[in-house]
Subunit: 394 residues, 2 copies
Amino acid sequence: MTTFENNFTDAEYYRRIDKTRAAMAAAGHEAIVVTDPSNMSWLTGYDGWSFYVFQGVILTHEGDPVWWGRGMDALGARRTVFMQSDDRIRGYDDTYVQNPEKHPMEDLAWILADLGLEGARIGVEMDNYYYSATAHAELGKALPKATLNDATALVNWQRAVKSEREIEYMQRAARIVEAMHARIFELAEPGMRKNDLIAEIYATGIRGADGFWGDYPAIVPMAPSGLDATAPHLTWDDRPLETGEATFFEIAGAHRRYQCPQSRTLFLGDVPQKYRDAENAVLDAIEAGLEQARPGNQAQDIANAFNATLNKAGFEKDSRCGYAIGISYPPDWGERTISFRRGDTTVLEPGMTFHFMPALWLDDGGLEITEPILITEEGHECFCTTERELWVKS
Amino acid sequence: MTTFENNFTDAEYYRRIDKTRAAMAAAGHEAIVVTDPSNMSWLTGYDGWSFYVFQGVILTHEGDPVWWGRGMDALGARRTVFMQSDDRIRGYDDTYVQNPEKHPMEDLAWILADLGLEGARIGVEMDNYYYSATAHAELGKALPKATLNDATALVNWQRAVKSEREIEYMQRAARIVEAMHARIFELAEPGMRKNDLIAEIYATGIRGADGFWGDYPAIVPMAPSGLDATAPHLTWDDRPLETGEATFFEIAGAHRRYQCPQSRTLFLGDVPQKYRDAENAVLDAIEAGLEQARPGNQAQDIANAFNATLNKAGFEKDSRCGYAIGISYPPDWGERTISFRRGDTTVLEPGMTFHFMPALWLDDGGLEITEPILITEEGHECFCTTERELWVKS
């Protein structure tokens, strides 16, 4: 039915579905409608850049999930989802696309009614990506007997502990991000246009590494220099790299939609003492954080150890220093569940994966030295072997 | 205040704001909160990959707009927006980020109240990207005296007619997409891994053309082959290009966030008659559509002429055959306003820009030959000079 090599066995999809159903039952949902593309993909295998129109996956307590989306994308669904039966794929008419006269949620309501869910308690992802305020209002209007309850992040939480196959894909993505960083270090030099360097980063990431092809990262490369690096999320232009400036590279390798982000910082020229001090503080604080990265500890233990060590060295970081990672689509490579910050009491389990992201933004630049990690039975492993230090070329 | 070269003059931003205020007044909005990143950028110049957290631009009928977002992104706002005064940039605490315990809309409500809008009629983009159902509910809860009305696409519509500078950026993006297509034709051959070709497409697009740097396209390259090309939005893997298959390349050049999408199809080997027939039908139908692309005509005139010609040749296309383009952020490079389809009676004006997108998906493959166009005083211009035909390498 498809020429795609499925990314996972049917058995793995059914394990995910069972896990999700248990969470649905606990929350009292008779069905859920999942609109976050990462959740759609995790539950069914669906893979396509079609999330700019409304689409979703319907999961009840019986039978295979139903993929729902734009009619033309039903063809892409047939080629990527694990469900074999054509009645599990439902496409809507193209006149519903970006048309103020009619809303695709009307079509979704018909399908839900057709599945016997006209009066059901249905969970919807009220605060996940691509489920708009209008979508929610229109769905409610079209299904007046149903009760729409909030199921934000319900599926995201089921994704936290990774399977062996998922970890394998993240390890392949780790090889890719290592190759991307190596290429940066090889090529970056004063006078090089930033966009030319980004072009090389992209090309390396998509060629892949170790024989494994590169997929698109859920966030584009961020690589600001000098004062621009005081801000975290600027992208690039054509200004050349300059001596005396630090540039941080916040990038990810990706394989079959699994993301392995990692940041490093490159200083061109003689490193000012302030940057050396910041580097030492961050490296010590990373060690302190990693010591807490083991099953049974809480997410906040890592943040607290990290922050205590950083503060002792005279530096401050107000923002969270890590988050869960795995399968992802734009606009975010995080899972939007667990954060490394004070107050997050989630208990770490083997198979959980995080981007430990202790970025420091200074008054005249930025320093990002980060580690994607896997929680193991004994403690943790870093996904990457990238040299953990401030890189310098002079 | 910023090392960025502003993409537009302050005067141009004020023209946009005046235009938007007139539309606000007509709709009865005392203020609007714009959360679509393309609208945020068009109104203020803000540019950063931070739309995975809640953020927005507040515009009232007096004074400069206010940028609102995550505290760490306020630094990026300072470096990219045209507003000079620090009180026009408001950042929220990092504990609001992806935290089920508290929602950033609470912070937005305080700022709106601080601006005297506690009881105002406020327009919100209920059906634009990144404004979730929860965001809407939380904002309403935190501002009980305000009236939240729908302002979906209000700003998008103001973007329809482009300024000279905007057209210049799109022309630069056109040179870039031409270079990307030329590189595809140069390199593609049987046995080449698809991801290796995509790596070259990316690198070419980001290096840029004619001395102008390439920005990231709002959609990643789509390049399915053979049966996968019966579906429109699949991305890539490492399966090699094969003789006897068509691959379509739906890609965009981008410069300073302005997008110029264009698709071409490459057949490797001897072209079956069916593809030649489809090619001829599409080329004739494009000509027929372009004849209608002139000021005073309606958007549907292009679609109707296109479809009539296509049908005469025995082919059908159910979906729309074009949409407005300009500045854009993921997940879509369209403006989500005007569509080329039956029933869209929007009157074409000089300065409007579209992706005329007459893709055909056949039962064993796809054919995409598309043209980005500018409506001129006299008629239209195609942005690109890319050879308009089915490309063949044998």
